[in-house]
Amino acid sequence: MERIAAWLHEKNPGLDGPIDTDEDLIEARLIDSMDFLEFIDLLEELSGTSIDLQEVTIDDFRTLGRVQERFLSTAG
């Protein structure tokens, strides 16, 4: 998750402190729409799997907690 937090801080230089795991990244535009595909690329790199946008919902990307659970959980 450190890489994701670092990416979010890089994209949002005005952001102070850690990002809550339930902060709405989409609605607050911490992931700007122009950077959304770059964020997907980062998740694919970190998870080692490709993400089919036909098979996800926006809620899968909405919070750090959900991103961890959906894409970066090592369970299974």
């Binding site: 609605e27 607050a28 535009r29 122009m34 959304f36 770059e38 946008l53 919902t57 926006i58």
Partner: protein
């Protein structure tokens, strides 16, 4: 002295000046004005004061709103003739063969841009701000189609800036008004998720919009979208440093009406411009709430 009677139009009516351009005759004009008045009811309901946006928008301002990244194909530019062309023009040369110089301004493609740019650096407070305006908007299109798709048209918008929750409520109230206005006019509308006409349809913004639609349209039975509800998250608030008190960058949302398209939908539904006007007059007597 007798009172002059209404002047009749000549046989054949009013000519179109070109593709995508229409001179509205008196009945169509009465429909457009009357419909715009009726749609202003949303502004009255939400206590949104009426303003008049600027007739041109600066390229620099539009660039900050990502207009050119999103819609480079739509922009209709305001140009002026080169100074060294003026003598030739005055001597009767054909304007089409002479060079135009950019002025750094575009005609508006949407009513809200001019209003948003006018609020740069302002604080709208936590109670937020609503503004209502009708503007003539211009978009280059690949084809034109009667009142459905014009090079220039009237767009009424009721814009909100304020909190995240305020933006949600604005669009709920807007959608409810659209349903009531349509019902009062006998129009059957369907609501659906919509795309903005992004130039790069495979780009990041379009992909995110597919997952999280920020625009819904209300369409007549022939598929013509006549109204929309749009949320911008805090994009304009951030780009233009518009704040909502302690909430930080303002969230914004707008309810938009394509007024010529309401005219089109009325004629489609009621059979003729005259019948549409009769129905509009009845609706205005009853009121949208009636």
């Amino acid at each position: 002295m007798s009172t002059p009677s209404t002047t009749a139009l000549p046989d054949g009516g009013l000519r179109s000046p070109g593709a995508g351009l229409i001179t509205l005759d008196p009945v169509h004009t009465a429909l457009l004005r009357g419909l715009d008045d009726l749609l202003t009811g949303l502004a009255a309901r939400l206590s949104a004061p009426e303003v008049l946006g600027p007739p041109l928008l600066s390229v620099e301002g539009l660039a900050r709103l990502d207009f050119f990244r999103n819609f480079p194909h739509l922009g209709v530019s305001a140009g002026r003739f080169d100074a060294d062309a003026l003598d030739g023009l005055a001597a009767g040369e054909t304007p089409g063969e002479l060079g135009l110089r950019p002025t750094g301004h575009l005609l508006p493609s949407a009513t809200c841009y001019g209003l948003l740019l006018s609020l740069e650096g302002r604080d709208v407070g936590e109670d937020g701000l609503r503004l209502s305006a009708t503007g003539r908007c211009f978009r280059n299109e690949t084809h034109y189609d009667g009142l459905r798709r014009l090079w220039g048209f009237h767009m009424r918008e009721v814009l909100y800036l304020g909190t995240k929750q305020g933006a949600v409520e604005h669009l709920e109230q807007g959608a409810e008004f659209i349903r009531q206005a349509a019902a009062s006019l006998g129009l059957e509308l369907s609501r659906a998720v919509a795309d903005d006409p992004f130039y790069d349809k495979g780009g990041s913004r379009a992909k995110l919009m597919a997952l999280d639609p920020v625009k819904h349209e209300f369409s007549a039975p022939d598929g013509t979208a006549i109204a929309s509800v749009n949320r911008h998250r805090n994009f304009f608030g951030e780009r233009l440093d518009i704040r909502a008190g302690s909430e930080g960058p303002a969230y914004s949302a707008c309810v938009a009406f394509g007024v010529e398209r309401w005219v089109h939908a009325m004629i489609l539904t009621h059979g003729s411009p005259e019948q549409a006007l009769d129905r509009l007059r009845e609706a205005r007597l009853r009121g949208v709430d009636g």
